[in-house]
């Protein structure tokens, strides 16, 4: 038997995130204009958006955005049978698209609003774990079907093209309003465009957009395999998405701690910290060093209620943060923030220092939706 030789993808990118910390939902023009402003950071081989708060009417159901390659009817039939067997499907519809948009050979997109129907042994799983398991099944076992996003009251829209063309294709500025928008423009160097390969990456309502190439990929990937995450896409971003899922969702570690894991402070700094802080940093490093993300990266991670941006420990990739009223921005470039507003404040965070946006109050979000 010939060994499996997966090729890891190499890429560079632009990313942008904006959150209204009061929970007010707003349209796509800020994110679209900003990411378009960084056009040279992408090469038209991938763009995408994650938006939170878009399906208030179905907010108790998992929203599955599913792509069918080559508009495969067989894949769609198989997926729908699978969903019927494993979920209550309360609504299913084709995701509206604009046929005039400047994209080539788009696949078919559907969305399904579902509630888990657990049977037998699976009753022990939490709803979230159950959904993760089923999504993994679709992605790995049903040919030509791929789940873009699987969270509640949120969705991912992505594909091959410049991000503004993808936005146009999914008619984001007309159809959707959300309180967090993250966006990504891609510059892959070694993969042909594939719609599933664009960012954001998503598990449940966790999304990641990422810029950079991780030199610690092999270490990170093999560590995550021990926790049952198998990288099927061979992108750095997938590794980060799984790491976020493991640390934040499954192990419930807060962002501040996760930032110290992904971009741990240098030993030189740790040695000079006060005893308490030092012990914490030592323990984190001891246990989680395999999830230290080494090499240049900037990420924007979001889930309901929170968005954060982070760059690597020695800041090899750029990140800028900005604020205007309740709006918080993170961006690859300051110019993109200035393209959409005159910010009250912009700053450049240190390597490893997370920029965190949280809803001012949970009620804000609830009242709004």
């Amino acid at each position: 038997m010939r060994r499996k030789i997966p090729d890891k993808e190499i890429q560079a990118c632009a990313l942008f995130g904006v959150m209204d910390r009061s929970g007010r939902r707003f349209g796509g023009d800020i994110a679209i204009t900003a990411i378009k402003n960084m056009k040279v950071r992408g090469n038209g081989l991938g763009g995408g958006f994650a938006v939170y708060g878009i399906y208030p009417e179905y907010k108790n159901y998992y929203a599955l955005h599913i792509m069918f390659q080559n508009a495969s009817r067989e894949a769609k039939a198989e997926v729908e049978d699978f969903l019927q067997d494993n979920f209550d499907v309360v609504n299913a519809e084709e995701i509206p698209t604009n046929p005039e948009a400047n994209v080539i050979d788009p696949p078919l997109f559907w969305r399904y609003f579902v509630a888990p129907q657990k049977k037998g042994e699976e009753k022990k799983l939490s709803d979230d774990d159950y959904v993760v398991k089923k999504v993994m099944y679709i992605n790995t076992c049903i040919e030509d079907a791929f789940v873009f996003s699987s969270g509640k009251d949120m969705g991912v829209f992505k594909g091959v093209g410049f991000p503004e063309d993808i936005a146009d294709f999914f008619m984001l500025d007309e159809l959707y309003k959300g309180y967090i928008w993250t966006a990504h423009s891609r510059f892959p160097t070694n993969t042909p465009g594939w719609w599933g390969g664009a960012h954001p990456f998503c598990i449940l309502d966790w999304t990641v957009v990422h810029n950079g190439e991780i030199s610690s990929y092999g270490t990170n990937r093999r560590f995550l395999e021990m926790y049952g995450y198998y990288c099927t896409l061979f992108t750095d971003t997938e590794v980060i998405a799984y790491a976020v899922d493991l640390l934040m969702r499954r192990q419930r570690l807060p962002i501040e701690i996760v930032a110290e894991i992904f971009a741990s402070p240098m030993w030189d700094q740790v040695d000079h910290m006060d005893e308490k802080k030092k012990n914490l940093c030592m323990a984190l490093r001891m246990v989680y060093a395999p999830l230290l993300i080494n090499g240049p990266f900037t990420i924007v991670v979001a889930h309901h209620g929170e968005m954060f941006g982070l760059t690597d420990r020695i800041r090899l990739r750029p990140i800028t943060a900005g604020e205007k009223g309740d709006l918080l921005f993170v961006s690859s470039e300051e110019a993109a923030i200035r393209a959409v507003c005159e910010p009250d404040r912009v700053w450049t965070p240190h390597g490893g220092e997370p920029v965190i946006g949280r809803l001012n109050s949970r009620e804000g979000e609830l009242n709004e939706v």
């Binding site: 610690s216 990929y217 021990m226 012990n279 914490l280 246990v287 060093a289 090499g295």
Partner: protein, 506 residues
Amino acid sequence: MKFKTHLLPEFIVKRDEDRCTRCKVCVKQCPFGVHSYDEENDRIISREELCVGCQRCVVYCPENALIVEPYPGGYRPNEYWTGEYIRDIKKQSESGGVILTSTGAQRRLKIYWDHILLNASQVTNPSIDPLREPMELRTFLGRKPDALEIEYEGEDVKIKTELYPNLLIETPILFAGMSYGAISYNAFKSLAMAAKEFGTLFNTGEGGLPREMREEFKDCTIVQCASGRFGVDPEYLNSAAAIEIKIGQGAKPGIGGHLPGEKVSADISATRMIPEGTDALSPAPHHDIYSIEDLSMLIYALKEATNYEKPVCVKIAAVHNVAAIASGIVRAGADIVAIDGFRGGTGATPKIMREHVGIPVELALAAVDQRLREERIRHKCSIIVGGGIRCAADVAKAVALGADAVYIGTAALIALGCTMCQRCHTGKCAWGICTQDPKLSKRLNPKVGAQRLVNLLRGWSLELKDVLGGMGINAIESLRGNRDHLRGVGLEEWELEVLGIKGAGE
């Protein structure tokens, strides 16, 4: 019956008579009695059949008058019946015994390190300049929990998970177990002093730890508990940073050890807790370990004796089923697994064991690391590999294959002066390393020895930092198990598969 030996000399001693001033340094330096002074003719003569090629006289001859080189003569060349086989047969036909030797396997077998190449960054991710940016080699050794549970108390972050004891070393290189008895006190002390100065650990081997060293070196010592149980008592166990149960050794898997009575001097007898002048015999197995459950009992007995404050390491030789064995050892409660490869050295071993038993450590390491990951227990232990680590590149490759750290034994002795003459078992080491003869061992000054070792650690650590920086990595942890940074050349499909690496160009 007495024979005229049929053996050819192994070395030839060439003395430049014009340079030689008859100073007799070589006569004094050679413990094998090669050189002697012929008063009548006022010249130095050499009995080359006694020469082991240790090069001591060559280095110390003040006139550079000596060259010692392999004997140029030999039998009719034959690829199959090589000179070595012919010589061994002749030796045994004269002695009727086992061929004894020392150090590690020397036979021609694929050296996997030399078929593995390291990666570097170009463009898509930047390399990092180790002269400008920090490069971190600090390494933890020991068991890690599955996750850390964190609790906030106001501003304070509290770790709720109980942590296991871990060792913290400044570079992923430790000194391998070499006992006081097998090596001289001065060599032993050199290792301890160097480990302490550099912030790493040395390993006592199975011969105990001299009392006067306990207080000073307790934070940089791994004490060994081997089948002979020499010098093991609660005080010994508690005067260390970690404890190692030695099951086997790469140079002679499956067999025990034997320190002849002549070497058991008063000091060694006190350290090993055996009568002076008696043979120190280490049985092949531990007589209380006949299964994995027994091993587990010993691991926990040692943990009990040390209040669960010290990681326990289990050292095994790399043998055929090493992956399954290592997994059993982790499940039995070991915090560290040490794997000693086929090339590992020793102070004395039958040649047949050294040359034919065990497997290369590169393959063993790759198999163990992969197996522990598949069983999802890799974080429950650290892996240290040893057995023929020759340079910093071997260290980097070992770490990328999955090792947490490496043990160096032979390389450390070479730093102290060893020239790989393979005569440790004679007890006449000309460099004062593998000997208990006070006249020889005083040739090695522990202060100088320690400095040489520290220099070596420093040199290798700097090289490791260069390699990391080239890959665009600034912490050794991000290289650990990162086989994406390795490529194979000249390897078969199955070998790439076991190593878990791609071929060059793939």
